[in-house]
Amino acid sequence: MAKNRLQLKQQLASIPIHNARIRETPDTDGTLVVEVDLTYKGLLRFMYRGLKLRTTRRYRLDGLGLEVYRMIDGIKSFEVLIDEFANKNRLTFFEGRAFLMQYLQMLMQKGLVAIGIPNSQLLRPSPLREPS
């Protein structure tokens, strides 16, 4: 597993992108409702219709979460997003990184965001151990 962990440079150069198949509906209270299609694996792939399992899931984004979601434009790298978020909220770089990493991980698990990772061959490793 350790081999699959990203180096800091790779992590910072990665580009989060919205899932192109999600549907966004702004609500009157300033929040955003996003709807994502669910996919099933294994036997459930063939049976979910018969079992009448749900085919979509909705999430409501607000406050800081919505702010970060809107910052993702498919062009800005994770490093640029951290800088913007940290500057706006007067956080340090590593504080901003920890917040965004946690939040993006959650968005990824829910299928709202994917992360594009650049080729590791292009990135030179640091001589000392890097923070994970």
Binding site: R90, L91, F93, E95, F99, S126, E130, P131
Partner: protein, 294 residues
């Protein structure tokens, strides 16, 4: 020698040293134990420096230590011979490296405390040695005596020498340092970021009262609408269950809890300082404990 400009550095103080590191270096790992431990500093390109301390009965052979360090770090390059090692004294530290670009190490032995202090930096490029590493080493002074300073993760405090750091919790934009004196007085310093998120629409008083209750305190009084060093602040009095020996066992309350919370709106941080102790104990003056910025 070129010295890093004042606005490009920030002060740090921890067990054994007070120093100054470049402003973009952040502590990314720490040890609380005074006997043995390390601090790790990183910037966005990775780890930039490691500071460590360890007990050492007598002055070590620093050059042998440096050589074995370089041999262990530099795999795939020709073995480092003693003649390759370049050393120089910078402040209290002996700095050593073999070649440009190799890691370098600086060692200082404090015989009075029988402690060995070490800084490790990743690359011994001449420009970085002159502009970054040497100024750091020159800025290192002992952090002893009373009061003793602790400056890390944005918390800057000065506490009497009999207060020892017992616990530290560092989460993103949420730091807590707990000190305890020999007479069992407890001092907790907190620092929160993202105040809008932390307050969640509440005012400072409602937030802090709720927070202290969640920490097991019985809040007696909250005096709101104060200012402290020109910042909105509040003062709270509370009771809490005793933490030691029979007090804990019998559930006796310590009734002298006092807390001060302030909101630094410029820095977008909320700080608090909480103190409590056995009956009759004297609490510290927050004015003396909290080091002002700048």
């Amino acid at each position: 020698m070129q010295i890093i400009r004042r606005h490009h550095i920030h002060a740090i103080a921890w067990h054994h040293i007070k120093s100054a590191v470049p402003a973009d270096w952040e502590a990314t790992a720490y040890s609380v134990e005074e006997r043995l431990g390390r601090l790790e500093f990183s910037d966005r390109s990775g780890v930039r420096g490691l500071f460590s301390w360890e007990p050492c009965k007598r002055e070590p052979d620093t050059e042998t230590m440096m050589l074995s360090f370089l041999r262990s770090r530099e795999s795939g390059v020709p073995d480092t011979h003693p003649a390759d090692l370049k050393t120089r004294m910078v402040g209290e530290f002996k700095l050593g490296f073999a070649r440009a670009g190799s890691p370098c190490q600086a060692i200082c032995y404090r015989p009075e405390r029988k402690t060995l202090l070490r800084w490790i930096f990743p690359d011994a490029q001449e420009d970085r040695l002159t502009s970054v590493y040497c100024p750091i080493l020159q800025s290192c002074v002992p952090n002893g005596g009373s009061p003793r300073e602790y400056r890390l993760f944005g918390i800057n405090v000065s506490v009497p020498a009999d207060y020892e750091i017992e616990q530290m919790n560092v989460f993103p934009a949420n730091v807590r340092m707990l000190f305890e004196s020999k007479s069992k007085q407890r001092l907790v310093i907190r620092r929160w970021g993202l105040p809008e998120l932390i307050l969640g629409g509440m005012d400072l008083a409602a937030f802090y009262e709720k927070f202290l209750r969640s920490e097991g305190a019985i809040v007696i009084k909250v005096q709101d609408g104060l200012t402290w060093r020109g910042m909105p602040a509040l003062h709270a009095l509370y009771h809490a269950r005793g933490e030691h020996q029979m007090d804990r066992f019998m559930g006796h309350l310590w009734k002298n809890g006092a807390a001060l919370l302030w909101h630094d709106t410029t820095e977008k941080r909320i700080y608090s300082i909480e103190q409590i102790g056995p009956p009759e104990s004297l609490l510290l003056d927050p004015e003396k404990v909290v080091i002002a910025h700048g």
